[in-house]
Amino acid sequence: MSASVSQPSLGQGRGLAGPAAAAGALFLGIAETVGAMAVLFASIVRTMAAVPPTLDTHELRRNLHKMAVKSLPIVVVTALFTGVIAVIQAAPVVKRYGAEGLLGWGAGFATLREVAPLLTALMVSGRVGANNTAELGTMVVTEQIDALRALAIDPVAFLVLPRFIAIVVTLVTMTVYADAVALAGAAFAGLGLLQIEPRSFYNGLTGGLLGFGDVANGLVKSLVFGFVIALSSCHFGMSTTGGAPGVGRSVNATVVASASGVFILDYFVSFLLG
């Protein structure tokens, strides 16, 4: 868990035995992680705003290819199955109310606003975020970051900033793909399982109940998720300690922190956007 970053000594030696100390240590660990991410974000923003721009465009392009292009198959497969599952789960409700014409609207509403951004974020956090942590963590434990510092190269400008931008861009573009593919999957599942013509699915989708606001809602969410995933992945990667097992622990901490961050922020963003 994210508590792994906190010093284990926090939970002991205070005379507060048992669960209270453990709970305190857990929350201190969480606060420490969030604080470290905020500091990292501040230094990313400062680097971004530096007057002669220090962004390494070659590194950015390399990361974009590695993250976005290479994740396309897995995002497409996930979105396709998600669309199918959404229709299977909606089938009883549709049958119960005889609402065949509304299937397109229902699937569109759920997919565009919630399902596609959320599942894409989970898959991207698994594939891209974890991989990025592993890469940065390996650099840390093999002392490549120290070598960079010794050469007076700022690791945030050289390594973290391009990765941060690449992860955010990846997540937003992948969400657009996932929206389209999940809706296509839902349309075909509707035809195959409920005998609803794709034309009537399309009419339900474009019949006026859904607008650009729903698409934008999902994309704003994926932007926020991208920030969370990029920050936690870079933070845990850069704070790796202790050889190969340490890299494994960092990856584990990253995926857990990204997933909880995504769900917690999803609630607040949904609530704020209404």
Partner: protein
């Protein structure tokens, strides 16, 4: 693996070569995964068990994930209810069946699938990182030297622990998501909790489908992640790769199993 492919196609690799290489890789990976699965089942039936190993893994997989699963599922419950409430308000402003439909969906799919995805992230990465570290520090080779199959020694305790704890955690996750959903419904849409807690729509098919999913995910996560961990190579970068692949592949396994089980249950129990 790639060595064989290069021998058969030495000259300029085209799209057919790429597709073929992907296909062969996928096939070989699937065969090895199947091998790990079969060996796991074999050792579950035949192997001797180290004392306390399963219990320790149950603690590792179950108790350690409790906080994470509760937080995530609590927020998911609030989100789903909030979005569904907005959706219903646009079409039919009638909240009387909101709770019943939500509970049905939760039992049949959402608790198992979303909880399963959470566990795939948390447990899958943990298992792969742990076994992967053992591989790169040659502890697994030492096991093989002692004529102990690493599947028997490492994967089987996690498999048994995960079968039990995934089911327990998913039931708990469903309860948490329902509770936060009920709170959201009463605060945001003025649906009384007593009306919200309506079990009339749940039937045998829903419960059987939900429990099947729990067991299937509980079996899939440790086998897929254990396979990813055991096939680690290289140093610390390899461990990171193994954990990444474990998260992605177990999530994918859950989504695909979900599609298969949901379709099967739709065909068996019908759309009631």
């Amino acid at each position: 693996m790639s060595g064989q492919i290069e021998q058969t196609a030495p000259s300029p690799p085209g799209i057919v070569h790429d597709l073929g290489a992907k296909g062969i890789d996928l096939f070989l990976g699937a065969r090895e995964l199947y091998g790990v699965f079969v060996r796991t089942l074999y050792y579950v039936a035949r192997g001797r068990r180290e004392k306390g190993a399963v219990l320790q893994q149950m603690f590792e997989i179950g108790n350690r994930s409790l906080f994470f699963v509760s937080i995530s599922m609590g927020f998911i419950g609030m989100i789903i209810l909030y979005q569904a409430g907005i959706e219903i308000k646009r079409v039919i402003p009638d909240y009387s069946l909101l709770g019943a439909t939500y509970l049905e969906l939760l039992v049949r799919d959402l608790a198992a699938s979303l909880g399963g995805l959470m566990l795939a992230t948390r447990v899958g990465a943990g298992i792969a990182a742990e076994i992967g570290s053992m591989v790169v520090t040659e502890q697994v080779d030492a096991l093989r030297m002692c004529a102990a199959d690493p599947v028997d020694f490492l994967v089987v305790p996690r498999f048994l622990a995960s079968l039990v704890m995934t089911t327990v955690l998913i039931v708990w996750a469903g309860a948490v998501a329902f509770a936060t959903g009920a709170v959201t419904a009463s605060v945001a849409f003025d649906v009384p909790v007593r009306i919200f807690c309506n079990m009339s729509l749940i039937d045998r098919g829903d419960v059987v489908t939900g429990l099947t999913k729990c067991v299937a995910y509980g079996a899939a996560i440790p086998v897929v992640s254990g396979f990813c961990g055991l096939s680690t190579f290289g140093g610390s970068e390899g461990v990171g790769w193994a954990a990444t692949r474990a998260v992605v592949n177990s999530s994918l396994a859950i989504i695909i199993l979900n599609a298969i089980i949901s379709t099967a249950s739709l065909l068996v129990f019908g759309a009631t």
